[in-house]
Subunit: 146 residues, 2 copies
Amino acid sequence: MKYSKATNYALHTIVYLALLPPGKTIGVKPLAEAQKVSPTYLSKVLTKLVKSGFIESGTGVNGGYQLIKDAKDITFLDIIHAIEGTTSLFNCGLDHTIHDRQNCFIEKVMNEAEQKMEDYLRSQTIEHILQKVDKNIVNRIRSVVN
Amino acid sequence: MKYSKATNYALHTIVYLALLPPGKTIGVKPLAEAQKVSPTYLSKVLTKLVKSGFIESGTGVNGGYQLIKDAKDITFLDIIHAIEGTTSLFNCGLDHTIHDRQNCFIEKVMNEAEQKMEDYLRSQTIEHILQKVDKNIVNRIRSVVN
DNA sequence: CTAATTAAAGACTTCGTGAATCTATAATAT
DNA sequence: ATATTATAGATTCACGAAGTCTTTAATTAG
């Protein structure tokens, strides 16, 4: 059981976009280069983020992507759900003779555990990450863009 | 990202074994039937539990499996680790220009989230499940065995 | 000692999905 | 009109989960 690489790309791209000057757009190519992934594949990931309402895309010469939600309103859980989906990690599909037929006690524990993880991921926003990023690095990124 | 079926089989088998009268062994066939899975596949799962020290196996006529750890000393996390392994759910393999080269802030958040889940899974033991199981069902299982 | 029983181990198959590529197509700006 | 950019679709590839089959080893009963 592992988080997908797509989730990693999505998280990093959102942070990257959040570091850009407000209103500034950036194409998929530099984003892909920064993460050493192919532009076509990354674009598939980003399209999910567009459809989920985190970022906006534009075609043509000055097109590209830009963040349209405030970093403090984007939680880790939001992004993860956009990429991985929202189905729970554990499903006991067994026909229970041991326990109640309706509810599996094991499943309840597993779901509660997942909730603990989600609670934390919901509490952590992109803004929290931005606050940790070295100002020098922020300036470097913005200078590359301009 | 999902927990494997093997983890589900392992958890249910441990609970089943814990419901048996102490010292009683049971073969893989009835265990497999109860979970509607093939005996050969379930035996692969159970072998992992043997090697991890939760259960004991014996060959021959009165062989089979039995629990050798106290239910109150078996946590969900123990079993999950035995089946799924202990590698973390998230690994940022990126060469960081955005953040420090050494530590990815995103990865730190993801790992902390996983810790929250693990903390809970570590707090929940098989004993907790046993306490919830209907006494009628316990008696039925034991009567089937005897 | 032999036959029956049982788990363990290894090779193998099947299937689904993550990861990625390639090739259009559509939209936009100069 | 042409270049630029994202989107969509088809397709490929690799890997691991899930499961089967067969053989081997260990144990007990007769």
